[in-house]
C-alpha cells in the first residue's frame, strides 16, 4: 500500500512540469468540446487523438488520451442539458433531468451540478482504480488459457446482455461477429491466411482503430445527418458554481453511484452509458422523491453524471490488469498503450508497476482540469453548440479518414473505416449494439489463442475447461447470464418463486 502511494506521488510529481500541465489543459478542454458536440463521441475523440499523439513520448501520449477521455465523457453533459441531445451515449441519462432543469431557467445550475457530479464520480473511480488494479493484476497471474478463454466468452455475453437489455440475442450476435472479424488474417499456429482470399491487405487482419473510427465515428455522422432538423441552444446561462447544500444532501447517492459506476465500468465492454443508467435507476428506487425524476431532479442529474464519470476510471481497471477494455474508449486507450510499447495485462505489476500509478495520476490531473475548466468556461463554450452540423460533419469525416490512415499509412484502413461505418449504421437501425462487436474484435485474438491452447492441453476433454475454481466461477456466471434471459429459465424462476411464497404448495410437498 505504502509502496503504491510512493509510486503514485512520484508519478504525480513527474507530471508537474509546465508543458505537461499545458497538455492536460488543452487535451481536457478539447475533450469537453468533442464530448459536447453531438456526433463526436469519446471513442472517436480518443481514436483520433491516438493518431495525433503517435510520435509523442508514451507517458505524454497516454496522458493526453486520458484527458480526452475524461473530458469527453463529462463534456457530453453540456449538450444533454442544453439541447436534450446527449453529446456522447454516456450522457443519455443526464438529459432526462438536465434538460428539464435548463427549460426551467436553471441551465447554469444544472451544468454546475453535472460538473461536480462528474468530478466526484471520477474521484471515487480513481481511488478504486489505484486500489483494485494491483489486486486484480496479481490475481490474474494465476490465470491460464482456460481462464482467459472463459473471460473472453464472459466479456461477450455480459456486454451483449447489458448493451442490448431488451434483446440480448442481438448483443451476443454482434459480439460473435466481432470475434469472427478478429479471425480474419494470418492465424498464430500455422501462419495460415484465413478469410483473406489472396488479398494481401487482409492477411494482416482488420485493425481495431479504423474499425472503431468507422463503427463509432462514421456511423454517428450518418445518424446525425439523417435527422431532418436539430435543436438549437435557447435561453441564458444562470449561476454555474454549485451550491454545497445541493451536493451534501445527496452524499449517499453520490457514493453509491461512484461505486456502482466504477464496478460497471470495469465489466468488459459495457461502458459509461450503462453505468449512468444503472446509477440513475438505483437512485430513483432509493430516492425519497422519485416522482421528481425526469422532471428536473437535482439528485437524478447528480447521480447520472457521477455514474458515467466513475465508469471512466472503472473501465481502466481491466485495461491495465487484464488487457481487456471496460468500455469502447478504453479499448482505443488499450490499443494506444500497445502502440506506445506498454503491455498492459496480468504482468503489468511485474513489468511496469509504476505505469499503473502513472495512470492514476493522469486520471487525477484530468479530473481536476475537467472540474476547473467545467466551471470556468461555460458561456464561451456554449457558442460551439451553435455550429450547424452541415458545417461540422464534413470536417469530422475528413478527420475520420486521415485518422484511420495515419497509424499504418494504408489505404485499406480507410476502406475498413467506411465499411464498418455503414455496417455500424445498419446494425444500429436494426437494434444490434455496436459495442459487443468492437469488444469481439479486441477479444478475438485472446479467444483464438487460448481456446486452441486449452483444446491441446485438454485433448478436447470438456471437463478440463472447468477444472480450476476460477474457470468454474467465470463459466458459471457466463452460463447463468446467458440462460437467465431465456423464457424457460424465467418460467422456472417464477415457478420456484411461487412455490416458496405459496404455503399451500409448500405444505403439499412430499416428505
Amino acid at each position: 500500500m505504502l509502496e503504491g502511494f510512493t509510486l503514485f506521488a512520484k508519478a504525480l510529481w513527474g507530471f508537474m512540469t509546465p508543458w505537461v500541465l499545458f497538455d492536460v489543459l488543452w487535451a481536457t478542454q478539447l475533450g469537453i468540446i468533442v464530448g459536447m458536440l453531438p456526433g463526436l463521441t469519446a471513442t472517436m475523440g480518443v481514436a483520433l487523438m491516438t493518431t495525433l499523439t503517435f510520435h509523442m513520448e508514451p507517458s505524454n501520449a497516454v496522458l493526453i488520451l486520458v484527458c480526452m477521455y475524461v473530458g469527453a465523457i463529462y463534456g457530453g453533459s453540456r449538450s444533454a442539458i442544453l439541447l436534450n441531445i446527449p453529446g456522447t451515449p454516456a450522457n443519455a441519462a443526464t438529459a432526462v433531468d438536465g434538460h428539464p432543469l435548463a427549460r426551467q431557467g436553471m441551465a447554469g445550475r444544472a451544468i454546475g451540478i453535472a460538473t461536480t457530479g462528474s468530478f466526484l464520480g471520477s474521484t471515487i473511480g480513481l481511488i478504486m482504480l489505484a486500489f483494485f488494479t494491483p489486486l486484480i493484476g496479481n490475481f490474474a497471474l494465476k490465470f491460464k488459457s482456460f481462464e482467459f478463454f472463459w473471460l473472453a466468452i464472459f466479456g461477450i455475453v455480459i456486454c451483449g446482455n447489458l448493451t442490448a437489455p431488451k434483446d440480448p440475442l442481438k448483443g451476443w450476435i454482434s459480439g460473435f461477429l466481432g470475434l469472427f472479424v478478429a479471425t480474419i488474417g494470418m492465424e498464430p499456429y500455422h501462419a495460415y491466411q484465413r478469410f483473406s482470399f489472396g488479398y494481401m491487405d487482409l492477411t494482416g487482419g482488420i485493425h481495431l482503430i479504423p474499425a472503431m473510427v468507422g463503427a463509432f465515428g462514421f456511423t454517428e455522422i450518418i445518424t446525425v445527418m439523417k435527422q431532418t432538423r436539430m435543436e438549437v441552444v435557447k435561453g441564458k446561462i444562470d449561476r454555474i458554481f454549485p451550491r454545497m447544500a445541493d451536493i451534501a444532501k445527496y452524499w449517499k447517492g453520490i457514493i453509491r453511484s461512484g461505486l456502482v459506476g466504477t464496478f460497471i465500468g470495469a465489466i468488459p465492454g459495457v461502458g459509461e452509458d450503462i453505468a449512468a443508467w444503472t446509477s440513475y435507476d438505483l437512485a430513483k428506487t432509493a430516492s425519497k422523491t422519485p416522482e421528481k425524476f425526469g422532471k428536473g431532479s437535482i439528485e437524478g442529474l447528480l447521480v447520472a453524471e457521477t455514474g458515467n464519470n466513475s465508469a471512466v476510471a472503472g473501465a481502466m481497471i481491466p485495461v491495465l490488469s487484464l488487457a481487456i477494455p471496460g468500455s469502447a474508449p478504453a479499448a482505443v486507450l488499450l490499443a494506444a498503450m500497445f502502440i506506445h510499447g506498454v503491455r498492459p495485462g496480468p504482468l503489468i505489476m511485474i513489468e511496469f508497476p509504476s505505469f499503473v500509478y502513472q495512470v492514476v495520476a493522469m486520471v487525477l490531473l484530468a479530473t481536476t482540469a475537467m472540474f476547473v475548466l467545467g466551471l470556468s468556461m461555460v458561456r464561451p463554450l456554449v457558442k460551439v453548440l451553435a455550429i450547424p452540423r452541415e458545417k461540422l460533419m464534413p470536417v469530422v469525416f475528413v478527420l475520420c479518414v486521415i485518422g484511420s490512415y495515419a497509424i499504418q499509412a494504408r489505404m485499406f484502413d480507410i476502406g475498413v473505416m467506411v465499411v464498418f461505418g455503414i455496417i455500424g449504421y445498419f446494425m444500429r437501425e436494426m437494434d444490434y449494439p455496436i459495442a459487443p462487436m468492437v469488444l469481439g474484435i479486441i477479444l478475438g485474438s485472446i479467444l483464438d489463442k487460448n481456446l486452441i491452447r486449452s483444446l491441446i492441453i485438454s485433448e478436447g476433454y470438456p471437463l478440463y475447461f472447468v477444472e480450476s475454481p476460477i474457470s468454474m466461477v467465470i463459466a458459471g456466471v457466463t452460463l447463468i447470464t446467458f440462460f437467465s434471459r431465456t423464457q424457460w429459465f424465467r418460467a422456472l424462476k417464477s415457478k420456484i418463486g411461487s412455490v416458496i411464497r405459496n404455503p399451500v404448495l409448500r405444505s403439499n410437498k412430499p416428505d
Binding site: H190, K391, I414, I422, M430
Partner: protein, 171 residues
C-alpha cells in the same frame, strides 16, 4: 426504425446472418488440417472460426424463429412502399451522406491529390446539405463563397497538420 417494422427487419437480417454463419462454417471445414505435418488436430486453423460460424448460425436461427412467430415474413413490399421509402427526407439525407463520404473515402482519396480531394469533398458536402436552389435562397453567392472558404481551410489545415506536424505521408 419503427418497432412494428422490427420483426420484418429481423426476418431479413436473420436469414442473411444464418447464410453467413453457414458460409463461415463450411469455409472453416475446408481449411487445411496439416495432417502431413502431423499437426495437433486441435490446432487446425478452421476450428475457432468454425465454432464461431456455428454459434452465429444458431443465435440467428433463434432470431429467425422469433420473427416467424411475430409474422415478420409478411414483408408487405409494394411499389408504393418503395416509392414512399425513397421519398422520405431522412432516407434521402442518409443515402446522400453515405454516397458523398463513400466517394471521397473509397474513390477520391489516393487517386487524386489529397488537398484537392478533401477540398472537393467538403465543398460538395456543404453545398449538398445547405444549398436549396428551388427555395430561391436569397444569398447563394455568399453561401457558395463561404463553402469554398471552409473547404479550402479544412483541406489546408488538416493536410498541413498531419503532413508537417505529425509527419504523416498524406494518401
Amino acid at each position: 426504425m419503427k418497432p412494428e417494422n422490427m420483426p420484418k427487419a429481423d426476418f431479413v437480417t436473420s436469414i442473411v446472418l444464418m447464410v453467413f454463419g453457414v458460409w463461415v462454417l463450411l469455409h472453416s471445414i475446408q481449411m487445411p488440417r496439416f495432417e502431413n505435418l502431423e499437426a495437433n488436430p486441435f490446432s487446425v486453423p478452421g476450428i475457432v472460426p468454425g465454432l464461431l460460424g456455428a454459434i452465429i448460425f444458431l443465435l440467428s436461427l433463434v432470431v429467425f424463429l422469433r420473427s416467424l412467430k411475430q409474422k415478420g415474413y409478411r414483408l408487405g413490399i409494394s411499389a408504393t412502399v418503395i416509392r414512399n421509402f425513397t421519398k422520405d427526407a431522412s432516407i434521402q439525407r442518409m443515402l446522400a451522406t453515405i454516397l458523398v463520404c463513400g466517394v471521397y473515402g473509397l474513390g477520391l482519396i489516393g487517386r487524386i491529390n489529397y488537398y484537392l480531394a478533401t477540398f472537393l469533398f467538403v465543398l460538395a458536402f456543404l453545398l449538398l446539405f445547405q444549398y436549396r436552389p428551388s427555395q430561391n435562397d436569397p444569398r447563394p453567392v455568399k453561401l457558395i463563397a463561404m463553402s469554398v472558404l471552409q473547404a479550402v481551410l479544412t483541406a489546408g489545415a488538416v493536410g498541413a497538420v498531419f503532413r508537417y506536424l505529425f509527419l504523416v505521408e498524406l494518401p
